[in-house]
């Protein structure tokens, strides 16, 4: 397998192959975290829940920063490759926290409905 890979970790035989697809997948996911974070922040601001809005806004900015900074990479056996760790748990945790913030927003709305 090593014979087909270039020094930059790309699949030399097929430009736009799996490494590039994976890097693009990382960027899509980071931008999705940013987008959903911004959405939660905007919805919370509209509903008057400032605390949730600020927290979700921070996650949105962090998602944008990571996406702009470039794909997660590691140097392995002299080659640069997309590194799943520790970015995968971080992005999964960020998604879980954004989901939790969305659930808090829903719970606040339930309390308001019942009050």
């Amino acid at each position: 397998m090593t014979s087909r890979r270039g020094a930059d970790g790309s699949d030399g035989a097929r430009p736009g192959g799996p490494p590039e697809r994976t890097a693009l997948s990382w960027q899509r996911t980071e931008l999705a975290v940013a987008l959903v974070g911004a959405f939660v922040a905007a919805a919370a601001l509209r509903l008057g829940v400032v605390g949730v809005s600020v927290a979700a806004g921070v996650f949105a900015l962090a998602g944008v920063a990571v996406a702009v900074a470039g794909r997660p990479r590691e140097v392995r056996e002299g080659r640069e490759e997309v590194a799943p760790w520790p970015w995968l748990p971080r992005i999964a945790l960020a998604t879980a926290v954004v989901g939790l913030l969305g659930a808090v927003l829903g719970a606040i709305e339930v309390v308001r409905h019942l009050a």
Binding site: M1, T2, T29, A32, L47, E77, P84, T95, G106, E109
Partner: protein
């Protein structure tokens, strides 16, 4: 498995050179041999696709909360929204566990474990769809 026969270094099982000691998580990279790069990259993309699915669930939940707040809708919508948001977050964490289990299976040359989250996601989507449809019918009948 084919990948076992074409280990990057062609070394004995369990030896990946010095790089393996530096790689985390150790529960994944301390076992087996290096699989085909295409397989491990596809495993990453699958995990990321699951995380994006979780994010879509969260976005849908927040959209439901926003819609429910614009008019005098039932509390049911807010409850569905909460379940969607929590489900989305749980799906992202499940994606992480699934990535680790798949990577281990790839390294050990074992069959890939079944996607545990898939039946839950499909069942949940059907259940939420039915609940929202029933709610819409009830609202129409009341008018």
């Amino acid at each position: 498995m084919e990948s076992q026969g074409s280990s990057a270094q062609g070394s004995a099982p369990g030896s990946d050179g010095g790089a393996r000691r530096e790689r985390r998580p150790r529960s994944v990279y301390a076992v087996g041999t290096e699989p085909e790069p295409q397989s491990t990259l596809a495993n990453q993309r699958t995990a990321l696709a699951w995380i994006r699915t979780g994010l879509a669930l969260v976005a849908g939940g927040v959209a439901l909360t926003t819609v429910a707040s614009t008019a005098d809708f039932s509390v049911l919508l807010d409850l569905v929204a909460i379940v969607a948001c929590l489900g989305g977050g749980a799906l992202a964490l499940a994606a992480l566990a699934s990535w680790a289990a798949n990577e281990r299976a790839l390294r050990l040359g074992e069959p890939l474990p079944r996607p545990h989250a898939l039946p839950w996601l499909a069942g949940g989507a059907v259940a939420v769809g039915l609940v929202l449809a029933a709610n819409a019918v009830i609202q129409l009948v009341r008018r």
